[in-house]
Symmetry: C2
Subunit: 349 residues, 2 copies
DNA sequence: TGACACAATTGGAACGTTCCAAATATTAAG
DNA sequence: CTTAATATTTGGAACGTTCCAATTGTGTCA
């Protein structure tokens, strides 16, 4: 267990050159002679040298630390896990590393985490903001020249780049599909009404209803937490309505699963007795029974795209805010009652 | 957009003290007068100072960077996402940040990622090693005084700490449960036979069979990739056996889901016509239909525990290798045919 | 009043790298 | 063989922090 760590000076001494030369080798500069380079590299391997990025970064005064910060609001949601994987892919192959943190929707935690990342000198940040994040929260970062890309949830008013999926179009196509199957009373279930994403999806729902020539009824819009439990709650409210809906588009897949649970608890089989459509297409969606009809958003693709965008800005040196909305597509499976080849009946023991 | 960054010297000047004093304030040393502290803090806020950990870390020569590296082999598997969340929780509240990377089972990627983390001066590493990771791969780290905690998959022969779940006991209890339900021919399905985890689980299976007074038949052990697809494959092989099994314990939940798929493809209903038990208790397990009976290992708990262990070693300054196996418990749901209150019949349209 | 403890503050030297300007070695041209 | 051009190499001086030893101020005690 060698105590002192090996520095460029040590290897310079051992290779019989100056530390400057070693530094040049490290940066694979073309100025250095092939022979010297080989020798230096050999010595480095031999002594087990490890590059000290901290020191390098210090000298390069605010230059690239090659660290990308990624903060998501709920990593246990596989949607975000996929997203992080997408980011990691491109970030890693560009020679960067990823600082990943989870805020669990806590805005305080988010602040802490971002501050900490800044102290570590991240060269860019990808963030899916916690609920109620203020649009100005990332101002100091961009002021300091650190590019920020907001994903999934947009932050209207913030002057940062963002990538969101086409929530409007997605919801519209879901409603259209249900209308084509003959449904007239279609509910919109779940989601917190104070978010931009909710607004977009609801707008898509309204447009879809209108396009299908169906009336919009306020009572059919039932908000709740965007979680499984929230779904159960929302469908509960929907089913006691005087004029019951026969189908629902849900804020996201988690809600949709909750809706299925709620239906079953009332002896209704999703897909057969009531049509349900989700949003996100998380991995569980196709595995569930019945398989969930849902709007696919390819979180990994969004992650990759966000990373590319961020890297572009980092390399360009300037952060020109740009907004991208990614295409989505409806994936028809069983829960909407369309493609069902297997009808499930229950009999209680 | 202020160009130059604010340093301790700037705030020292502005506050009318020396940089040393500012440094003391930063470390909240008790040496500094309350009045001075307040003033310095005020100036820091005013000028928008951000601490440069890189520089600090440089001076403190190999001291704490407050970065914990976390590398997992498959983040899209919610088991590992949960684990990462658990780590993040304790790591974050201890004032550290987490570097998270995904190897996708690539050993080259793992090497790259770990090297990169080292360059960034991580003060500790938590790793779920990619398959075929060599026991000596982390030697340089521990030699450099960087504590390493291996989770989930142990690395026999490596002199590092590890936390694995009690695979043996878990499998035993699963087999015992099936035997109590009257099953005699119980298969062991899925998993790669060249891993330590496989060995442990298989050993548990054998002990369980023995304890239940059942014979061990080589043919009932069918390995495959530890994935959903692998599960389909394994059950396929099992069902063509001359003397078919009536139940199976699976290497993990992914395999178990695949087994269910495979059963259904053959018009067999898991839970009713064939009992299946998984391992891990991923979140989807309780949501699936039928809900999966499985061995719960609490990945988040393992993550927390691993982080605690690592922090302890970091604080102690010495990395005494210690091995922990965490308790598991069988969660009985529907797929084993035990607690089923709802029997599902299919009729094909 | 001098001596002494104690509190608070401070200037420089370090940490491991990169950059710059300048030095030296090598080659080509005359 | 000199000169100019080119190819390599090289000492410092930074970067922003922490640490150490030393300094200054403030009160206490004989």
């Amino acid at each position: 267990m060698t105590k002192a760590r090996v520095t460029v000076i040590d290897i310079a001494k051992a290779a019989g050159v100056s530390k400057s030369t070693v530094s040049l080798v490290l940066q694979s500069s073309s100025l250095v002679n092939e022979g010297t380079r080989a020798k230096v590299n050999a010595v480095m391997r031999e002594l087990g040298y490890v590059y000290n990025r901290g020191a390098a970064n210090l000298r390069q005064a605010g230059a690239k630390s090659r660290i990308i910060g990624v903060v998501v609001n709920d990593l246990t949601n596989s949607f975000f896990a996929e997203l992080a994987v997408g980011v990691d892919m491109v970030v890693q192959s560009a020679g960067f590393v990823q600082f990943l943190s989870n805020t669990s929707e806590s805005i305080d935690r988010q602040r802490e985490v971002v501050a900490s990342m800044r102290e570590h000198g991240i060269s860019g940040l990808i963030v899916s903001p916690a609920r109620a994040t203020d649009a100005t929260d990332f101002k100091p970062l961009v002021a300091a020249g650190i590019p920020v890309v907001v994903v999934v949830r947009n932050l209207p008013g913030a002057k940062v780049s963002s990538i969101v999926s086409d929530n409007r179009a997605g919801m519209m196509s879901a409603v259209k599909h249900l209308a084509e199957l003959g449904h007239k009373r279609i509910a919109f279930l779940g989601g917190f009404p104070d978010t931009a994403v909710f607004d977009d999806r609801l707008a898509g729902y309204r447009s879809g209803m209108e396009a299908a020539g169906l009336d919009y009824h306020q009572e059919l819009v039932i908000s709740s937490a965007p979680s499984r439990a929230g779904g159960v709650e929302a469908i509960g409210k929907a089913l006691v309505l005087a004029d019951r809906p026969t189908a629902a588009v849900c804020f996201n897949d988690a809600v949709a699963f909750g809706v299925c649970d709620g239906l079953r608890a009332r002896r209704l089989e999703p897909g057969a007795d009531f049509a349900v459509v989700g949003f996100d297409d998380v991995i569980e969606a196709q595995a569930a029974v019945p398989a969930l009809t849902t709007v696919s958003v390819d979180p990994q693709g969004i992650g990759r795209r966000a990373a590319q965008m961020l890297l572009k800005q980092i390399n360009a040196g300037k952060a020109e805010a740009e907004t991208v909305t990614t295409a989505v597509r409806l994936v028809v499976r069983e829960s909407c009652g369309a493609g069902m080849r297997v009808k499930i009946k229950q009999d209680f023991a």
